[in-house]
């Protein structure tokens, strides 16, 4: 099979469990399967976030104990990296590129449009819990900006109109799933 046939990559809603939908055993499993690697903490945090959708506060003491580090150390690492979230995201994660090459192609106007359309700012989630909005500083798509990412899909040359169509599609596909 060709890697690039990304049938598994199609967007729609990511099946992310709701808040509270995790157990200490899940955390223990993820830590146990990686803790013997060199420098295991980032891989562990990635694995937890991939499984649960975020890194719950309650995971910190479990990780700390199993890695024999302090809670403060684990906490410090989680808070240092923009990628890790400590609260669940909405059904869809939307990242808008704020960096220079996208600015040069109308990225700033797109940022304003997106915030207005969704009625949220960065690091916020829409009240219907459909979309969490995050800034991103470059997606490596800099010749075809402005660029955004919706869940695992990067989209280039996004105009306000293209964005509106996308949001409509996202929200209807979620409704169909429900």
């Amino acid at each position: 099979m060709h890697m690039s046939e990304r049938a598994d990559h199609k967007t729609a809603a990511m099946p992310v469990p709701a808040a509270g939908d995790w157990s200490p055993d899940m955390i223990r499993q993820e830590v146990a399967s990686l803790q013997h690697e060199p420098g295991p903490l980032l891989p562990i945090l990635h694995a937890i976030q991939a499984r649960i959708g975020y890194v719950p506060e309650g995971a910190v003491p479990i990780i700390a104990e199993m890695l024999q580090q302090t809670r403060a150390e684990i906490h410090g690492v989680i808070s240092f990296y923009h990628h890790f979230r400590t609260r669940p995201a909405g059904s869809n994660l939307l990242e808008v590129c704020r960096a220079e090459a996208c600015q040069a192609r109308g990225g700033r106007a797109l940022e304003r449009h997106v915030q207005k359309k969704l009625g949220v700012g960065y690091h916020e989630t829409t009240t219907d819990n459909e979309v969490s909005l995050e800034p991103v500083y470059c997606l490596g798509n800099c010749a075809c900006g402005p660029s955004i990412r919706v869940n695992d899909e990067i989209i280039g040359r996004v105009t306000p109109q293209k964005f509106d169509e996308l949001v409509d599609k996202l929200t209807t596909s979620v409704l169909q799933l429900k």
Binding site: L41, F80, H82, A99, A101, Y137, A143
Partner: protein, 519 residues
Amino acid sequence: MTITIYVPCDTTALSLGADRVAQELQVAAAELNKDIRLVRNGSRGLFWLEPLVEVQTPYGRVAYGPVEPGQVKELVAAGLFEGNPDHALYLGDIAQHPYLQRQQRLTFARIGITDPVCIEDYIAHGGFAGLKNAAALTPQGIVDEIKASGLRGRGGAAFPAGIKWQTVLDEPHDQQKYVVCNADEGDSGTFADRLVMECDPYMLIEGMTIAGLAVGATLGFIYVRSEYLLSRKMLDEAIRRAEEHGYLGDNVCGNGRAFRLEVRLGAGAYICGEETSLLESLEGKRGLVRSKPPLPAIKGLFGQPTVVNNVLSLAAVPYIMAHGGKTYADYGMGRSLGTLPIQLAGNIKQGGLIELAFGVTLRKVLEDFGDGSFTGRPIKAVQVGGPLMAYLPESQWDTPMDYEAFAKLGAGIGHGGVVVFDDTVDMGEQARFAMEFCAVESCGKCTPCRIGSVRGVEVIDRIRAGDNRDNNLVLLEELCETMVDGSLCAMGGMTPFPVQSVMKHFPEDLMASPRPVEA
């Protein structure tokens, strides 16, 4: 007869609908009962033409582009499967395209031509020839070849790769050493690392393996930024297949030496592109910059001797080992030898990857390759080398792309990104963003960077608001000097460069009040 069709699978092609184009081609072929073999090749880096569909014909790989989803039916009706020229999107034999013909693709010789994860394809196009040569040499022999090539680090600091490798080789042998690939590619306007990983991942594997043999390292890590999910996926698959074929493992190329590779994901921190912050991150810590010395070459990952190189530095190695350091050094000028993968981005008509010998002028890149701005308006400023580098006004575009020539301007080549802005840009806003970005991404270890950047945003806001302007301009100049002189790393130390370039070359924009935002 089977018709071979190519549809690229890199991030940019996908971001413009390549998957849907590929599906539509399959549907169209089924409807017409055509037997097609659909190959998902890498991108050739002619991004304004993506998705670029190619058809294998007796006259070469004939291309159509940019093909939008929904356009396939019409193209097929016009004879796409036969390579028929009667369509506005017809481009002819893509290998003859002037954008490619005018380049010197040494590192990027294969991209867009091959299926990225197909190891036979890689070998058929010269892959692993460098590793075979290296495996027959002593470690010192490999390092000497890299020195002869004149290769300097492509990650930004332009440090000679051969000297770095020598330092690691000279450390005592009876200890663990590492090769770490810096694939954090955080600079806006850059995508060449991504193209290597997505479109020719075996080249990076080969380069790292050669580095391992050269310095006596048995384990390598590729630190990929978390934004690059596709790169990660391609690398994981390529590493798996390389192991299967004996190019990685306990007995690399049958010469008895071991080398293994592992991909690690970053977590959205620009500063983790700085090599010591990256090492901290790999060790599972906050990405705080370490003070040097000790150099990573002596005390790097887990305190062990470590080669840290950018993707492009390591990707240049297979060519050097296959064709000889001297051949590589025949390209370029002065102390900038070999080729530079230029990434043309932002407001430009023909953006993409342009690999050329050092020495080409920026104007040539913008005009001959870029064909002017995307919007058709005059180009006002160009930022070369990422968010920590100066904005260049037109008077500086005749400078040759050479590390020393750019340094003389107070500018830099960095990782080779070229971001173009047309005359609608508000350079005051760009100066403000430079400070804002530093405030968001500072690792927080030193005050000039952590606090200075926040103050920088405030001072620029006051200047733009006309509040005590003259005094605030002096304050901004002093703040920039403090950051340059007092920061531990280039994050705080170079953030002032774009700001100072705006003060110098575009002062009228800095003084102008921010433009009203349309509702």
